[in-house]
């Protein structure tokens, strides 16, 4: 007995304080975002609990907005951890939407074909972004800033040159009965909501053409996509070899290359993934609204980056969490819609967001120093 003790004793370093399991569980990259989420929910439960914000239809409302942010935040998060930025996300959203609408409405191809072409083009543009960043060695900030303008300009040009409009409607009609379109624009679990409405948990429309139907039609596919991407991104990052390469590529490019990590491939793939996420966002939006507009997605790249930073990622790469980014998106969505529910002047939204961003980043910096020993 005495011997086992003495054998274990030298393993302890007297200069390292023992961490309690509680503290250990708390000290994680997404702690700042978790605190922020709790704070934001408490705040809105306090000021807007009687406004219907936390009734089923209210939850679907801010849940959808949060899911939108989350979809692009996952792409931005993985790319940022790999050490790069993509400022062309917003323009990519507008571009993909217009491509889908043009192909299906203007040229009369089936919707699935339009969606496939949009995804193919997005992946190609993402790869081009990545290739240019790798080959020129320029900061991705500059390269993708160029694409922010190039894509936006092209989108408006194509749209006006072919239809003389910047908004193309009639997509929903064109996509009726399409084998793929419902994956983006449909709603699921509608049976569940009918049942819940019959139980009286979810309200029903009392008048109008939809009288007798539940007020919540179903879970929009947008939310399902957000969940799929979050789970995929989280597992990829934390549980796979490729995830380790993402961290390595962003942490120290040269060190990663020395040990044989294919840094260029990792970075280009992450640019493509970012464009892929933007196109999922665009397709869902086009299918839901039934139209595409050339100015869609304005400033979305910053909203994605803000979500990621609130989620604890480091702007210089090599550190971050997909779950954190998703919580950042949730905070974003809840604040934006919550202020509306609470009847607060909507211009205050930005003030709120700025304050949350600042608080989260200060907390995150402190947590990160504790974890990584960085000074």
């Amino acid at each position: 007995m005495a011997e086992t003790q003495s054998a274990a004793a030298p393993q302890k370093d007297e200069r390292i304080r023992e961490m309690s399991p509680m503290r250990k569980a708390l000290i994680r990259p997404e702690l700042g975002a978790i605190c922020g989420t709790i704070l934001v929910f408490m705040f809105f439960l306090g000021i807007a609990s009687d406004s219907g914000m936390f009734a089923p239809e209210g939850i679907i409302n801010w849940g959808t907005v949060s899911a939108q942010f989350a979809i692009i935040a996952v792409g931005a998060c993985l790319l940022m951890i790999a050490g790069e930025f993509d400022l062309s996300v917003g323009s990519m959203i507008g571009f993909s939407g217009i491509i889908i609408a043009l192909i299906t409405v203007q040229w009369g191809f089936p919707a699935w074909f339009g969606i496939l072409v949009a995804f193919a083009m997005a992946l190609a543009i993402g790869a081009l972004n990545g290739y240019l960043v790798i080959k020129t060695g320029l900061p991705s900030f500059i390269v993708t800033l160029a694409f922010l303008y190039i894509l936006r300009g092209l989108t408006i040009f194509i749209s006006i040159a072919t239809t003389r409009k910047t908004i193309i409607g009639g997509v929903r009609e064109a996509a009726e009965g399409d084998p793929i379109a419902w994956i983006f624009g449909g709603k699921v679990f509608s049976g569940l909501f009918v049942w819940l409405a019959d139980l009286g948990i979810v309200g029903k429309f009392v008048a109008g053409p939809k009288a007798g139907q539940p007020v919540v039609e179903g879970i929009p596919m947008l939310m399902i996509w957000a969940l799929i991407l979050i789970v995929f991104g989280h597992i990829l990052l934390t549980r796979t070899r490729f995830g380790n390469w993402i961290f390595a590529a962003g942490g120290d490019t040269q060190a990663a290359r020395y040990v044989g990590v294919p840094v260029n491939r990792v970075k280009i793939l992450m640019f493509m993934f970012s464009a892929f996420c933007a196109t999922i966002f665009a397709t869902c939006q086009v299918m839901e609204f039934g139209s595409a507009a050339a100015d869609r997605g304005l400033l979305k790249e910053f909203e994605a980056i803000i979500s990621v930073v609130i989620g604890g990622a480091l702007l210089t790469g090599g550190y971050g969490s997909v779950v954190g980014a998703a919580l950042g998106a949730l905070i974003f969505g809840v604040v934006q819609q919550g202020l509306f529910f609470a009847g607060v002047e909507s211009s205050l939204f930005r003030v709120f967001l700025g304050v949350i961003l600042l608080l989260a980043v200060i907390l995150n910096t402190y947590i990160r120093r504790m974890i990584t020993g960085e000074r």
Partner: protein, 259 residues
């Protein structure tokens, strides 16, 4: 000559008009620590970069276990069993020890059609390998940034050893370390040597070299000044050779023989 793990003969390296190496010959035997000494600009860095496949020599031969080889990339050299631990460590401070240790060679386990990073195995191996080198980690998911400089060196060295290095090149591993950490790293070098690995220890600190070296080669202005066995040469002589003798002797006089 067959007991040499690696032998570099008359290596020359020119960068345009600059002759960085002008005929350097060094050999490393299994289980020895070969110290490469030289002042700044003597060509040490260029020489180890040639050895580890970063540069291709302009002239000269590299023999690996008696056979002539030519490395096109650091990857080639690594596969031949030459591992280099650079001054800047090739460690990523934001990442955990396990993630760093396995970087680029992550073990995987299958789960249906998917492959995942096998953390339980990776953590276990990391902990045992580190313990062998005398470093007891709080936990394998501790970030490398929380380790001291000496501990980071040791992680890098044990990683190289674990992945089957035959020749381990250490680029000034002790230059930025304190006294205690330096002795830890020197002790690690001794452990590595006992495994039969040939160690190339680059330094400009004669005392560190004398502590672990079996043979000493001094470089000056891109040339080998000669190789000496342990016991054939004194620290003062090495110091003189490194600095080119004359001027340092004068300097030393004015400093009272303290360097």
């Amino acid at each position: 000559m067959s007991d040499n793990l690696i032998e570099l003969v008359d290596i020359e390296k020119h960068f345009g008009p600059v002759i960085a190496l002008n005929g350097v010959s060094v050999s490393v035997k299994a289980g020895e620590c070969h110290c490469l000494l030289g002042d700044n600009g003597a060509g040490k860095s260029t020489f180890i970069k040639t050895m580890s496949g970063v540069h291709k020599p302009t002239r000269g031969k590299i023999l690996m276990e008696g056979k002539e080889v030519s490395f096109d990339s650091p990857r080639d050299a690594m596969e031949a069993g030459i591992a280099t631990v650079y001054q800047d460590l090739a460690m990523i401070p934001l990442m955990s020890v396990t993630r760093n240790f396995w970087m680029g060679r992550e073990p995987q386990k299958r789960f249906g059609p998917f492959k995942f990073f096998d953390f339980s195995q990776a953590n276990e191996v990391t902990m045992t390998e580190m313990a062998k080198m005398g470093i007891h980690l709080r936990s394998p998911d501790q970030a490398v940034g929380t380790l001291s400089g000496g501990e980071r060196q040791t992680v890098a060295i044990s990683r190289a050893v674990f992945f089957g290095a035959k020749v381990l090149i250490l680029d000034e591993p002790t230059s930025a370390l304190g006294v205690r950490q330096t002795s830890n790293v020197l002790a690690t070098i001794d452990k590595v040597r006992q495994k039969g690995i040939g160690v190339v220890f680059i330094t400009h600190n004669v005392r560190h070299a004398m502590a672990v070296g079996d043979r000493f080669t001094v470089l000056n202005r891109g040339k080998t000044l000669g190789t000496a066995e342990r016991g054939d040469i004194k620290a003062e002589e090495l110091q003189d050779l490194m600095a080119g003798g004359q001027e340092l002797a004068e300097l030393e006089g004015s400093l009272g023989g303290t360097i």
